[in-house]
């Protein structure tokens, strides 16, 4: 966070030194881009917050903990695709899952779908890529995450 502040501030100051008008044009463009995506982002974050409130961590542990094999992989892929869980929550949760006996291939599928597939964030993604490309990317990533899980299972 502080790094971001320093980099942005540095860039703005350096830019101001060279060309004041261009700098303002850049800042205006940035702010406009931000305001352009803000409403979609608000809706996505609200959906994610409501979803998270309805499925607490204990529910995810119960859901993924009981199953193993193909059923566990499928459950992990579905939960991972829908949930929007930031990394600082996801990895501790994955560690808890592992301790409670969930196999590492299931965990690999869970974290990989969390990272690559975002069903809740689709409304934001389609603003940049359009529905078609966004759905293709998510679909392929879903399959890709399953491949990652299967290979992890072979090696671990």
């Amino acid at each position: 966070m502080r790094v971001m502040l320093i980099i942005t501030l540095g860039a703005v100051l350096a830019s101001l030194l060279f060309d004041r008008r261009r700098t303002w044009a850049g800042i205006r463009r940035g702010v406009r881009m931000f305001l352009g995506i803000l409403p979609d982002l608000l809706v996505v974050l609200i959906a994610a917050a409501v979803l998270l409130a309805l499925t607490p961590e204990s529910a995810i542990v119960r859901l993924l903990g009981r199953e193993s094999g193909p059923a566990g992989i499928a459950a992990a892929a579905i939960v991972g695709s829908i949930a929007l869980i930031p990394g600082f929550v996801a990895f501790p949760l994955a560690a808890v899952l592992h301790q409670s006996g969930v196999s590492l291939d299931v965990i690999a599928v869970f974290v990989t779908t969390l990272m690559m597939v975002g069903i809740v964030t689709l409304p934001v993604e389609r603003r940049y890529f359009g529905w078609k490309v966004a759905l293709y990317r998510n679909g392929l990533s879903f399959v890709g995450a399953l491949v990652v899980g299967l290979l992890m299972g072979l090696f671990l």
Binding site: A48, M116, V147
Partner: protein, 181 residues
């Protein structure tokens, strides 16, 4: 900026949500309070980070010459171009939706379709700040193995995305201007 009907609906949803959280707090409805709390966490993460990031993108946008991006990560850039976008992605942090505006900037400056998706894949799965966190909780062996396996997988996805006939007219849109409702 004019406010479209679709945006009014989105802001209305936000307003209803806020009212719901307020009522939940008043009447002690646990899921409502929890939703309010995690929304606050998400929003804080976003409110601090995103405006800065967008301003930085705006500044880079006005200075970065198109020829530079076209040459290094454009259609003719080969494997070296893909290595560049992977390195760029690995050095970043933040949720995946923060990568979309960067992808849009890269696209605008002449980055190839394949490298756009390689960038997104690398950003999603092998950011260094995230890897250090992952190693802490799941161990080096898990993290290293996952990285090595995921790398060819997201590169393959990028090749498929590039080859799909449906993405022939591919473009990364700027939601502020060409985003069609």
């Amino acid at each position: 900026m004019r406010i479209s009907a679709a945006n009014i609906v989105k802001y209305a949803i936000a307003m209803i949500f806020m009212a719901g959280v307020f009522l939940s707090r008043h009447f002690g409805i646990a899921p409502g309070i929890a939703a309010g709390r995690s929304f606050r966490d998400f929003a804080m993460e976003m409110a601090a980070f995103l405006p800065l990031m967008f301003i930085l993108i705006g500044i880079i946008d006005v200075w970065l010459p198109r020829s530079l991006i076209e040459r290094h990560v454009g259609s003719g850039s080969g494997i070296r171009g893909s290595v560049w976008v992977i390195l760029l992605a690995m050095l970043q942090a933040g949720p995946l939706y923060a990568a979309f505006p960067v992808a849009q900037l890269l696209w605008k400056k002449g980055c190839s379709t394949r490298n756009i998706f390689i960038y997104l894949g690398a950003f999603a799965t092998i950011k260094v700040p995230m890897l250090t966190f992952e190693i802490g909780f799941l161990g080096l062996r898990f993290s290293l193995l996952r990285t090595l396996i995921t790398l060819p997988v997201f590169i393959a996805i990028a090749y498929i995305m590039e080859a799909l006939p449906k993405t022939k007219d591919f473009a990364v849109l700027d939601p502020a201007t060409d985003g069609k409702e």
